[in-house]
Symmetry: C2
Subunit: 218 residues, 2 copies
């Protein structure tokens, strides 16, 4: 059992936090403000393994960090967390850099020569960044059986040991190891971060966020 610092109080952060607690881990949900209402309410409801605090508190608490902040705010959140509190730790980056400033459809807030995951890795070179889970809605992240079929989740990162531990965590979430596709180094996060544009259109076309893709090969 580990201590997780989960940054972000939208849908993803509390969903991941509650799943981690169900699995017996301790979780501190981090927000910009210590008195964040969603974090406070979540910690009050989620049992004695649940805590809340600032981004910095959560990063200090966790020996594994989860970035579930809005993509456009992720670099600021992680700067607030303190790079010294991320050093040497596995940093699971789930966020997407969706920019809705021109309405729907959103664009990705980075050129396709880069990705949020790479920006995070560059800003925090001693963190062991692993990009994953950013291609599914929160409920499917922690319970892939909600969607039928042999659909997959992707993993990108430069640190093989960090990817192995994240893979174990994904298995504990219900992802069979055979359905966890390691795409390679952290730069391969571009692939999944730009796939999100198709995800958004499929969400619009299908009328549900509970879907995922299965890669079939000849």
């Amino acid at each position: 059992m580990a201590n997780f610092g989960v940054l972000g109080t939208g849908v993803v952060g509390p969903t991941i936090g509650s799943k981690l607690i169900e699995l017996g881990h301790s979780v501190m949900l981090g927000a910009r403000d210590a008195a964040n209402e969603k974090a406070t309410a979540w910690a009050a409801d989620a049992g004695e393994l649940a805590h809340h605090g600032t981004f910095r508190d959560a990063a200090q608490f966790g020996n594994v960090i989860v970035n579930a902040t809005l993509g456009l705010g992720s670099l600021a959140a992680l700067e607030a967390a303190g790079t010294e509190n991320l050093a040497g730790k596995v940093l699971i980056d789930i966020s997407n850099l969706l920019d809705f400033s021109n309405g729907f459809p959103p664009s990705v807030g980075v050129p396709s020569t880069d990705s949020l995951a790479e920006q995070i890795q560059r800003a925090h070179p001693d963190a062991r960044v692993v990009k994953t889970l950013n291609t599914a809605t929160a409920s499917v992240m922690v319970d892939p059986s909600r969607v039928p079929g042999e659909h997959q989740v992707f993993v990108s990162g430069d640190d093989a040991d960090a990817k192995a531990s994240v893979t174990d965590l994904l298995v504990s979430f219900g992802w069979p190891a055979s359905r966890i596709l390691d795409l390679g180094g952290i730069a391969t996060a571009r692939a999944t971060e730009f796939y999100i544009l198709l995800w958004v259109q499929l969400y619009s076309t299908l009328g549900t966020s509970e879907f995922n893709i299965e890669v079939h090969r000849a």
Copy 2:
């Protein structure tokens, strides 16, 4: 049976051209130069329904146009084809704007607020542009049964009649109608044109280009 002007002499153009001929259509394969060796050889081998010529010749010949040129050269090829030869016609855009100028992985040569399909539609407002087939390798485009599973193909375009005729063509290629997903207007081509970054990584990871994705929903 229709006359198709197929622009591009890489793998995709001749593959699509040969499939169209197998289905009984007439095809002119267009290249920058009338004496293009690949176009000449293809036309010599592909039977009496096969012709070759310049981009302009092919666009004049076709009542349906297929853009299968390299994405970075597509606007120039279509300009050479002559906007008056595209006006009123269905223009099937299969190309991806992959930029390998910085090596592997490639980036997409347009910001994610735009797409090649939209650039083509803007440059040729009287053409009825439909984006499709750009998410599969050439052999799978014309024979989806090469990959097992209920994987899909996507369609984007502003002209409903044009999309309907392209859908009929896809069915004739072997795509069941239930597996042809209409994403919406031409701007939804961004979704599939940026998905290609994931496609390229999967190609690298899987070691084959003969794969495709199936969208499963809850």
